[in-house]
Structure formats: C-alpha cells, structure tokens
C-alpha cells in the first residue's frame, strides 16, 4: 500500500505532472482570453498567476519546476530562429521601403533603450533591474536572452515585455492618431517596434498591411536591440 502512495507521489513530482500543470494553466489562459477579450488576461500572465502561488503553497522549489519543464524552455531558442521564416514571409510588404523601415526602427530602438535605461537610472535602479528593463520592446524570448547576457533576470524581462506590450497596444493607436500618423506602414511599424506581438494584435485590427508590417517590425526590432544593447550596457 505504501508503495502505491509513494509511486503516486513520484508521479506528482515528475515531468508529466509539471508539464500538465504548465499546459493546463496556459490553456485556461487562452480560454479566458478568448471568452473575455480582456487584454490583461494574456495566457502567459494567467499561467504565472496560477503556477507561482501553486509552487508557494506546495513548497516546491522553483529550480525543481524549471528542471522538470526543460522541454518547454528549450524551445525558446528554436522559436526565435523560426521567426526568421515569419520575417521572410512578410518580405513582399516592404519592397521599396527597406531603407526607410530599417532607419525608423533603428531610431526607435535607440530611443526606446536609451529612454528606459535613463529613466530607470534616474529612479536609482540597480544593474539587475536596468538590464531586465532595457530589452522591454522586443519579443519575449529575445528579451529574456538579452537580459541574461547583460546581468539582468530573464523572468523579470518577460514580465516587463508583457507590461510594455499591453500598454503600447492600449495607447498606441490613440497616440498615432494624436500625432497625425496616417501611413499604414508607419502605424504598423510603430506598434510592432514598441510593443512586439501585443502591438501586432492591435495593428492587425487596423488592417492587414499594418498587421504584416508590425510582425516584421518585431523581428527587425529584435535584431536592432540585440546589436545596440552591448553598446549601452556600460551605463547599466
């Protein structure tokens, strides 16, 4: 009898259980988002809201959870590589605009990194926090990677990326209207550069071209930010 109890205990602390927990809370997040359309209910956030208290209550170490769900975090790198294909798919939208697009995303990336680092420093943020904030405008896997490379914390970076995405998606269209940006390319580019995938969701609501350009901006912003951060890093 004790054997069965022990075995069940083993199963509940094994890979299968933790993967189920992760997939289950994510699915719940997807469902909630679809039902309610509340932008704050991102599946990633919902999963965190479920799993973090779960680990706290059961007393399971984060390290154990991380080890058992390796399978998922391993995919972070390949998923960034796969974005290269997504970028290629959108290439037709940018013919004739390559230089202007690269220029504006470069300027945007520079302003984005410098402003966030400067403000954080003004408020007295330490290196750990600054390095986690700096890549806030790029897509989560790249941001986590960049944060880790520069002495930040990947999970903090992931949260900041989501905050940035939610905020940009919320106010982006309003700001663009206020400052009189009418070009579809400019609108999509601004939303994707500042607020990655969550900005792209808004851009898609504005139109197909806006959406495609916004998706493209995610990739370009990722590369530009990866190139710029090493130069800004000394100020962290």
């Amino acid at each position: 009898m004790t054997n069965i109890v022990e075995n069940i205990g083993m199963l509940l602390s094994g890979e299968v259980f933790f993967l189920l927990l992760t997939l289950g809370s994510f699915l719940l997040g997807v469902l909630l988002y679809k039902r309610t359309k509340i932008p704050l209910l991102q599946p990633l956030l919902v999963s965190m809201i479920i799993i973090i208290p779960f680990l706290k209550i059961t007393g399971i170490e984060y390290q154990v959870f991380y080890e058992k769900t390796r399978l998922l975090s391993f995919m972070l790198g390949p998923s960034v590589v796969a974005l290269g294909y997504v970028l290629y798919e959108q290439i037709e939208h940018i013919r004739g605009n390559v230089i202007s697009i690269l220029t504006s995303v470069f300027v945007g990336s520079l302003v984005g990194i410098l402003s966030v680092v400067l403000i954080a420093k003004l408020f007295g943020a330490d290196r750990l926090l600054t390095a986690s904030l700096a890549p806030k405008s790029v897509t989560t896997p790249i941001a986590m990677n960049l944060a880790e490379n520069t002495g930040g914390v990947p999970s903090l970076a992931a949260v900041f990326v989501v905050i940035c995405g939610l905020f940009g998606g919320l106010v982006g269209p309003l700001i663009l209207r206020r400052i009189g940006v009418k070009s579809s390319i400019a609108k999509g580019l601004a939303l994707g550069s500042a607020s990655h995938a969550l900005g792209t969701v808004k851009a898609m609501e504005m139109g197909a071209l806006e959406g495609a350009i916004s998706g493209l901006a995610i990739g370009i912003m990722g590369v530009m930010t990866a190139l710029l951060i090493p130069f800004v890093e000394r100020f962290f």
């Binding site: 999963s47 799993i51 960034v80």
Partner: protein
Amino acid sequence: MIKGTFFILLFYLLGEIISLLLNGFIPGSVIGMVLLFLSLLLKIVRSEWLKKTATVITRNMAIFFVPAAVGLVAYIELLSNSLVTIFSAIIISTILTIIVVGLVQQALENKIGARKK
C-alpha cells in the same frame, strides 16, 4: 516537420557557434534567425521546407516562456519595491518609441513620395 525541425536546429547551432566567436555579443538565437532569413532570401533553403514547423512553433510561442517567467517568484520583493521605477520607465519609453518610429517612418515615406513625383 522533421525537415523543418532539422533546419531550425541547424541554424540555431550555427547561430550559437557564431555567438560564441563574438563573445556572446548577440544571442545565438537572434543570429540563427538572421541566418535563416538570409538563407530563405537567397534561396539556399526553400520556404516550403520550413513552413509547417516554423508556423507551429511561432504560433504557440508564448507557452515556451512559462517556465522562465515563473522564475519571477524569486523577485517578487524587488518588483514590489520598484513599481514606480518600472512603470515610469516602461510607460514613458513606450510612448516615445511609438511616436519616434511613427513620425520618422511617415516623414521618410513622404520624402520618397515627393522625390518620385
């Protein structure tokens, strides 16, 4: 799926190797992404080889962040102590980025448009 996975992992490995040679200046995954993009553009790799795998992976990308994001559990104190810093920095910087990209792109487009006329 296997062909697509093979190429994605291959470019990931290449990216990681180059990243090592560059002293980690740029993450290997980002280099892999650029290499894959260029190879598709130069027709070294055919897009139909990658379509299925790349679409599946990128469409469900957010799930891969969960384990790392849960790592936040160790930083809740830091987070709650720096809420003002975090929100001021993110909000102001995001607004600036949107304004700059939107205006620069529109200005450049108008310039090109004017030259064409």
